[in-house]
Amino acid sequence: MKAKKILRQYACAVVGLALASPALAGDWYWGSALQGLTKHYSGSEQLDSLSGVGLSLTADYLERGGIAAGYNYNEKRYLSGLLNAPQSVREHVVFGDLHINVYPDPLPGPLTLRLDGYAGQDEIRSRITTTLPGPMGGSGTRIDSHYDDFWALHPVVSFLNYAKTLYLDLGYAFSHYANDDGVTDDLDVRQWTPTLGLGFNQAYDWVQLRAYVIDLSRSNRIGDKRSTRALEAKWFHWFGIDPPLGLHSVFLSLLGGERLYAVDGDAHALYNIADLQTGAAALGAEWTLGRDSQLLLVGGYDRAETLTSNDTYHGSYLFAQLSHHW
């Protein structure tokens, strides 16, 4: 419960900063983003839907570096009437990002050193049938909650050349998932993500390949899985003069292989459930609204498998983000 209080205070601080930041001008450049996610699961014996909202704030000091902070809330709902699954999981995640840019003369572009940190808590809510009489007589039900805490650290070093034709990064993430139900083991996850990005067509197109190499500690929450390997490919296209539908850019993302408990630094997202991602595809479009705002819409599909129950399912989602900078 103490963690929940800290999360709430952190969320209030992020909102407060977001409201106060326009007053803090000068050499700091501020940005904020509001996002929403809705996801529906098909073919699952347990999962029903997921919805989430988030708020983030960024502050960059000229081009020397910056900080970011954010808060995400997600609620995952399970099918009703199940004996072996909770009713829902409410998740609170806060994240912070600190990065600095350095410009070594021998390199034809800046190096960025970045450290992301995440901390969160899952409230697992289960409906318990009691033998005590309910309001209408007979047995009653009540909601019982237990809390699992988790955190992750994610340092990344990246390089982008001045011509915007080559990007390289190497990321490492260490994540820890704790359980307080007395049954499920804690879990440690180590992830390496080498990335290559190539720009072409006079910087109107960008292709990015990222490998996910993930090693997991022994835990009864993931069965026999000890490691996963996946490759993510993204293609971005930016529009020039007279864009169709007023679009600023579009992207297509594909994921192959297997990915479990991944940390996605681009999206500031933790995939923190014991479900093995076995494929994903997403299509996104971004519009510029006025001079300083953007709207991003993403539709996606992913395939997954619950390791402890061999429940194979897929999910389809819609994600929207409205961002503003000043």
Partner: protein, 203 residues
Amino acid sequence: MRKSLFRLFILGAGLLITSSAWAASPWAESYRLEALAQYQPAIDVLEPLIRQEPRNDFAMLRRGWLHYLKGEYNQAIKDYQTALEINPKSLDARLGLTLPLLAQQRWREATAHADRVLQTAPWNYYAHLRKMVAEEGEKQWQALAKHAAAVAERYPSDANALVYLARANLWLGHKDAAGKAYRKVLERIPDHVEALQFLASGG
């Protein structure tokens, strides 16, 4: 008469000695080496002047410029900052700083220095030019269009502001305005490649 000729001889000899002394000065040698693109030797000959007390802000400006030409942008930034410490009123040092910053695509930082110059000298041409480069780098097309139009109004013989005005209008989808600006560029520089290409493409 003889006395006057003697005086003229003394004056001529003095001038010759002085000019040959200047021709052999570190400054002259540094300029000569720069013209030959020998930037490090051009820096090296200035070192005794840079070590002198009181510190010479012009020597620091000169070394910053040579480091910039050499592609040593971080050292150029340090030199221009030192020149600014020696002479905090130096607009040259602030304008100098914008060069390596723009080379490193640090658009906001370059803009911050250009803005400081414009606080003192509101229509300083180079400050506006460097700021327009940064606006283009950040793809701030509306701001660039407005800014370039204002600069072109004040410097009517200049083609650079008109080129930025044309580019910004092109990105904003204002092809007629872009064509008008490119035609004005050709009045000033008849063989301007970019303007000719735009008009040849039917713009």
